[in-house]
Symmetry: C2
Subunit: 138 residues, 2 copies
Amino acid sequence: MDTMSHLREFGAVDAYLKECASRTVLAAIANKWTCLLVDALQDGPVRFGELRRRLDGITQKSLTQTLRTMERDGVVVRTVYPTIPPRVEYSLSELGQSVVALMAGIRRWSEDHVPEIMAARDRYDLRAAEDPRPVPVD
Amino acid sequence: MDTMSHLREFGAVDAYLKECASRTVLAAIANKWTCLLVDALQDGPVRFGELRRRLDGITQKSLTQTLRTMERDGVVVRTVYPTIPPRVEYSLSELGQSVVALMAGIRRWSEDHVPEIMAARDRYDLRAAEDPRPVPVD
DNA sequence: CTGTATCCTAAGCGATACTG
DNA sequence: CAGTATCGCTTAGGATACAG
């Protein structure tokens, strides 16, 4: 039997399966920039330049690219005001709003457990110095 | 003032800041393999080979690497049973368990919104065919 | 202001071969 | 069984320059 295609027809929507569409969705939303952008947009429309300032360290290219992907997935709505100079606002669609709690939760969890995790890293790296096993960088 | 270092000392734990440790934590957990691994381990210890089978499409290298990073961050506990052949089990630490609900939530959201998102992609790509703007792949 | 285009480097990942 | 080591490709992403 062919489990590689027509997954929706067979009702097999399972992110554990390589060829399942839900895997591409998971890959699309499970990354830092998407997470921060959903979080940043939760209180209403934000302009491109403002997003660039809020997401410290993101390049214009990455921001454009991530927003474009989110727009394509129907998570974000892009509104262009035909003024001079142009003004573009990004906001969450209803679909985007449905994932706000999850994304905000992840951001908050990351912030809340920094001391714990930094300590764990220090401990691991210390033990790895004695017992030589490969150490992931950051 | 220097906002680039000693963030913990100043109490500025903010994932929006490039140099903040919480940003590295966010980057570490906000990716598909980590999400699926936390989800896969939520019901108890699982062996390496079993994880490789469950996470369809992951290579041995990526699996080892991701598990190592999670172990270093204190999210996962690695237990080696000195048998022949060797048997290694991975389980969630208490820290890991504290993020299960979020990760499972993301996996479920991805699966639940597949039709909606696939439709959005089709719509976007169709409009992009007429009005030529760059289209993200996947 | 909000992008696009290009170049270039670094990281991710698959494939393969090998080990205790 | 559970890894390590290496190669080589593909992609992500930073820097820079330029445009509507």
